[in-house]
């Protein structure tokens, strides 16, 4: 029995080190409030960092041991996507963060695998960095936002990126960064996260499917975090839209539900009934273990939670906890 976590972030030590004495990490600064809470300052925005974001790899490993998590497939903190900054800055922060993950993999090859961050505002630069991490650093793929400065990933400009990811065998994990579509509508009650993330992920599924990306790249490996948001629950209305609207059929010959099994989905849906619904809709071979370490929205004691679920068979639990990711990532 193993457990492999696809959804575990890193706020790189190089950020903490270079900002320690008030310096900046490629223009990104750090502030501390009166209660000692830490903030990254990115392009003028203050982004709160949780206490565990500062932990060293050794401290992370101790926490993983406590949680019963064997492997973190580490991805950089989404607050450092930096798509709205100069490409040179985003390329530099991407290289630094990715190199640090490479060092973690080198030191603890049984405990860490890597997903890169990429300067997606510059498609050739993003492809170059993806090639570097896949070919030279031994990564498994990359994590990107649901949109790049307002453009969804079905925009024709990104097709070379998708072709490169497909050819390199890179798994692309989708994860929001910055605000969501709910932020400007209803910024209260944490809804930009608790509804917005799920809405963004659903639009990402739909953009890649309706936009024909999944047909153009039949071997592409995509993982949608947060269980794919509302995708599995809302697929019926997407099918109806495809049946009734010509613009929905522009690129795809099959209804969107036919593409559900082309994606992977992490298991961060919080309730047993929702996880059961996800499994029953997309198939258990498509659901993978993820925890959202080290943020407050991670779910508590994730391994024992999965193990305790009465509506899942032992085979289903093992598929989710490790077998699916072992197969998909070759771990």
């Amino acid at each position: 029995m193993r457990s492999i976590d696809i959804h575990a972030h890193l706020t790189p030590q190089c950020f903490w080190r270079t900002t320690e004495g008030g310096g900046d990490w490629h223009t990104i600064g750090r502030q501390q409030d009166a209660r000692g809470r830490q903030y990254a300052v990115v392009g003028g925005r203050r982004q709160e960092l949780p206490p565990r974001a500062r932990w060293t790899p050794e401290e992370r490993l101790a926490d993983m041991d406590s949680l019963g998590v064997d492997i973190h497939v580490v991805s950089p903190y989404s607050g450092f996507y930096n798509y709205d900054l100069d490409t040179t800055i985003a390329a530099a922060t991407s290289r630094d963060a990715n190199n640090e993950i490479r060092d973690m993999i080198t030191s603890w090859p049984d405990r860490f695998a890597g997903l890169a961050t990429l300067p997606m505002q510059d498609v050739p630069a993003a492809i170059a960095e993806l090639e570097r991490v896949m070919v030279q650093l031994g990564f498994k793929g990359a994590m990107i936002n649901d949109q790049v400065n307002g453009r969804t990933l079905d925009d024709a400009a990104f097709l070379p990126f998708w072709k490169a990811a497909e050819q390199l065998g890179a798994l692309i994990l989708f994860h929001q960064g910055g605000g969501t579509m709910v932020s400007s509508r209803l910024p209260r009650y944490h809804l930009p996260n608790t509804i917005g993330n799920l809405a963004e992920r659903t639009v990402t599924f739909a953009s890649l499917v309706f936009g024909g990306v999944m047909d153009a790249c039949p071997d592409l490996k995509i993982c949608l975090s947060h269980g794919g948001g509302y995708t599995c629950y809302g697929i019926g209305r997407m099918d109806r839209g495809w049946q009734s609207r010509p613009e929905a059929r522009q690129h795809i010959p099959q209804p969107p539900s036919a593409y559900l099994r082309r994606f992977y989905y992490d298991c961060i849906v919080y309730t047993e009934q929702a996880l059961r619904y996800l499994i029953d809709t997309v198939g258990v071979d498509r659901v993978v273990f993820g925890t959202d370490w080290p943020y407050d929205m991670e779910f508590d004691w994730p391994v024992s939670w999965i193990l305790s679920l009465e509506s899942l068979t032992q085979d289903e639990k093992e598929a989710i906890l490790w077998k699916n990711l072992e197969r998909v990532l070759g771990l």
Binding site: L186, I195, V203, S207, R240, Y270, M297
Partner: protein, 332 residues
Amino acid sequence: MRTIDIHAHLMPQCLWKTVDAGQVWHGSRYEPGAGLGAVVRDGKRIPIQSPKLRFTPEERLQDMDAQGVDVQVISIHMPLVGYDLEPAEGRQLARDVNDEIAAMTRQWPTRFAGLATLPAQDVGAAVEELERAVTTLGLEGAELDTVMQGHTWDEPQFLPLFKAAEALGAVLFFHPQPQDNLVLARTDKYGLANSIGVPVEDALVVAALIFGGILDACPALKACIAHGGGPACFGMGRMDRGWQVRSEARLHIQKPPSTYQQRLYYDCITNSEAALRFLIDQVGIDRVVLGSDWPFVQWDPSPVAWVQGLQSLTAEEKSKILWENLEQLLGL
């Protein structure tokens, strides 16, 4: 055995008479074009997606007979709601619509019930019109958008409206804009504003009512959310987690949001049996009611037949959805 449909739209005859004469109806005008043309208002095109949108009440009754629907609870097609108008004109639009719906319910009292349009851009006027609609016109309540000119219903200025609805025993039916909603901020392609934006708006209004403390402030409020409340019930676990870990989510409510979802009603337009079963299991069978989205959904053969044919529902559950719950809620 009866069937009562909470979700049935109207483009009023008073609109058609005016725009067909080339005149402007409270900011709306008709524009011929592809298909059946469009009504244009506030700079936006509302395509006429079905010839049934022009139906007279008599033609509508024939269509209801064909679909096995005994009672339609009529509400305006939401793009016409007119929150953008000056308050005086918004009030007049609401009166015109509500008078027409009331006339339908008077002429065919066993076939039609009504939900009013309210000029929510002026909360005082909205309260007055709701009182008139319920006490004078005999309507069952009102239909509200999921957002009012960028304002959400959890904002304190709207509380008098919810207090009034509670005191009147009026049902509030929340329904988003199908073509103009928050998904447009992300993408305008593939009809996703409708297929994703509509249910996301439904989920957001569930969240606004719960997290905003409105259900605590108005414990007897009767509210129904269109399209099964969107994916609110499926995503409730994440809202509960947000409530656990963020003080801003606990600002108005002392209990997790999932404990409030059984306080709302939801229509059965979930687009799949599995989703409807999930909704029932989360919110309780007493909270799910028949909706057809007339005339926008091409049911084959009818919304009633769809519910009746579902394998995973008991006969008692089907009766509750088809009529018992709405009979009780609306006193029909």
